[in-house]
Amino acid sequence: MTRLALDPPRVQPPVPSRPFRHIAAQDGSTWAEYYREPAGAYLLRFPGLADFRVSTDLEQVTCVPAPGAGEEACRNTFASQVLPAIMDKRGHTVVHASCVEVDGAAVLFVGDSGRGKSTLAASLARAGHRLLSDDGVRVEAADSMLRAHPREASLRLWPDSAAAVLPGAYAAAHAGAKSRIAAQGHIEFCERPIAVRAAYFLGDGAAAVPAIVPMTPAESLVAWMGQCYLLDTDDRLALASQFERLSGMSNRLASHRLDYPRRFEALAVVRTAILDHLGRGAIAG
């Protein structure tokens, strides 16, 4: 298991090498830069937030916060970005998805940030379907099935989503940026791994009414490749291993495209469409 050590804050020094990966924020600014360090170590820099140094054996991550960055923000970034990439390099599959339990099986909602994964999962959780994760799900092949692993029992929502979906919990949380909400007492969490039944890839919200369209296994494989974490994009062994695991997953798991209007008042209709779809037995395996 990878350990996180937090060092005292320090100004982020210039890095002598060039990053091999650059991730832009939605406004075009630099959100993250990944660098190779000597002897197979990595430096993952989040400007203004923290530097994460990943040891060669992947066992230790040292976080140096930038001055003024909060410890919680550093821990969140470690859990949501750094750790999933390390898990992938260790041969585990972590997908960019939220996950709830429906009739004893896991249902994944997959998509880029801002597609509404957390809001949809929170809405289903509020309706009595236990939450496994609001973002980032480890999926593991076990015999002939796939199992989803729960993440920590918490939920991250933007304030408008939180106010709409979990009004009680939101009142107790602080407003501002997307923040973790103490959802205990408002929703229930599933805290053990369970079999995965279906995956829904979230569309861009252009649909006027909820629409669910099946994907071929080949389509879903390419879609999964875009929704996984990869520490080093030039690491061919890691890429090959990820491709192998995801092709197995695509053959086993029924995947669909799901699109719906992104209005909070439409969530009840979306939930019904999903539960009907799952209940119709349209989904094999």
């Binding site: 490749m225 061919r236 890429l239 092709s247 695509s250 053959n251």
Partner: protein, 90 residues
């Protein structure tokens, strides 16, 4: 390409069957390619080292297609794959 040439899948190319299609990954560029069911059949025969003529025979048998058509389809697929570095000559 000559009749006697043997095609090989280079080491940096990975192909996996998903459903009835193939998805091919070029590990050097991180680019994916999809092959439909017929393309997938040709790919699997190529990967087994089956000769071009024999591949056309199989397509004629399995897909009710004229031999000339099969030959031209296989030739264009091979050309497209070779252009992208997904197939090489042994």
């Amino acid at each position: 390409m000559n009749a006697g040439d043997r095609l090989v899948v280079p080491q940096h190319v990975m192909a996996r069957v998903v459903g009835d299609e193939y998805v091919i990954l070029d590990l050097e560029t991180g680019t994916y390619y999809g092959l439909d069911a017929v393309g997938a059949r040709v790919w699997s025969l190529l990967a087994e080292g089956v000769a071009l003529d024999a591949i056309c025979d199989r397509l004629v048998e399995e897909y009710d297609v004229a031999r000339e058509q099969a030959r031209s389809d296989v030739a264009s697929l091979i050309e497209a794959l070779r252009e992208r570095g997904l197939l090489g000559l042994r």
